[in-house]
Amino acid sequence: MRKQIPLLLTFLAGTIPIFAFFVPERHVGLVSTGLDSWLIIVYGFALLLGVVNVVQMNTNKIKRRASGWPYSIVLLAGLVIMGSFGLLGSFDVFGGIATRPDGSSTPFNWLYTNAFLPLQGTMFALLAFFMASASYRAFRARNVEATILLIAALIVMFGRIPFGEMVSKWFPIVTEWIMGKPNMAAQRGIMIGAALGAASMALRVILGIERSYLGIGKGE
């Protein structure tokens, strides 16, 4: 019974949106959108699950003096500072979490602007470097496939900068063509295939055939 109720719940919950997709009748739509708004709340609850785990792991690390434990203190400090500004903000302490009416920052917003955004932006910007090293290593004409990959990448990279246009006016034109025709065709092929794969997966989940995500083995 412990294993079957979840499978039945999955089945019931899974048929609702499928039914609602074809049936315009108002009440059917209400069930579907209602369940949707419930699940947004459920998802909100889930975050705390992660927070609990992070706090547990890091306090353990500090207690055990595991290697790198001082960094756990840094992590928990970040969590406590930002988290408490955020929670207090929801009771309108410090003027909420956005900017105040006079344009000045709340503490939450100040940390967001001066710590969160630069950290996030820099991590994202590292990609420029990684693209350079990855392309140097991978774009080698080892075989037919790798050569095609290499040539397509080189043409498009040339076609995107003014220098390429100066060398030949064909670079931007060929670039647009590659992006619009063969690239588009391949992406469509991938999308159609993947969509069928996902739909088949969905069907297996609804029918309870695929259930490893619930931690329910095949034995039952």
Binding site: M131, A132, S133, F139, L154, P162, F163
Partner: protein, 291 residues
Amino acid sequence: MNLDRLMQIDRRIIYLFVAAGTILPIIFLLGLPVSTTPPVRMAFERIENQLEKGDVVLVSFDYGPSSAPENDPMADAILRHCFAKGIKVVVIALYPLGGLSEAIEELNKVAAEFPELEYGVDYVNLGYKDGAQAAMRKMNESFKEVFPLDVNGTPFDEIPMMRDIENYGDVKLVATLATGIIGEWWANLVNAQFGLPVIVGPTAVSAPKYYAYLEARQMVGLLGGLKGASEYERLVMDKYPRLAELYATPGLYTATKGMDVQSIVHLIMIAFILFGNLVYFTQKRKPRAAK
């Protein structure tokens, strides 16, 4: 042997090149040649030839910090162009994630370059309004209802230049610097329904879809990404010596510099790829020759 080592080049050497290729052009102006394209010239000529001193242009900040490197220079170039020509500017922000901070920052920066202009008379910042599409519709009836106060909290009626501006009818043009869907709304909603001419400055990624609007004449100009912005800079520099001087200021980030970075880093990457293949083939041929 040596070639082997070249193949396994330390990635940090590549990183060093990329970093240098990014920082140096930001500090020193290289000024690689820029050729202009019709969509950008259309935008420039619209402001240059069809507007007169005293006309009003609406500039909408519809982007945030995430796309600032691309959109900032466009906003600056258009603001500078308007100010240099004596066109009055109404600035608004409709993008929720940081549109207002961009609007304040860029307008303050450019306005400081034109000390002869006066806030409230020659330019104004009406601030941010949420619900972009609704605000855009409502502005057709009344700017005042959408923006009762400016960004400093001054009531609409106490701003001298706003006395003559009631709705879109009193504005000659709107320029939107956009990262998301808001730019499209200016074209397919405001232009289509209210007939206000629109110039859009989108990011490079979203530029292709705007060509359709340009062809359908729902827009009067397009500045696609950094490239478009650098072309606009070239056009205003050629026309206004004062701006050319300004754009040569060392500490100023411009699209021309950004585009220099793009060209150089792209070329660095291409060079490394070609070099890698060169070494690969020389090495591959060697054993054969030995046989």
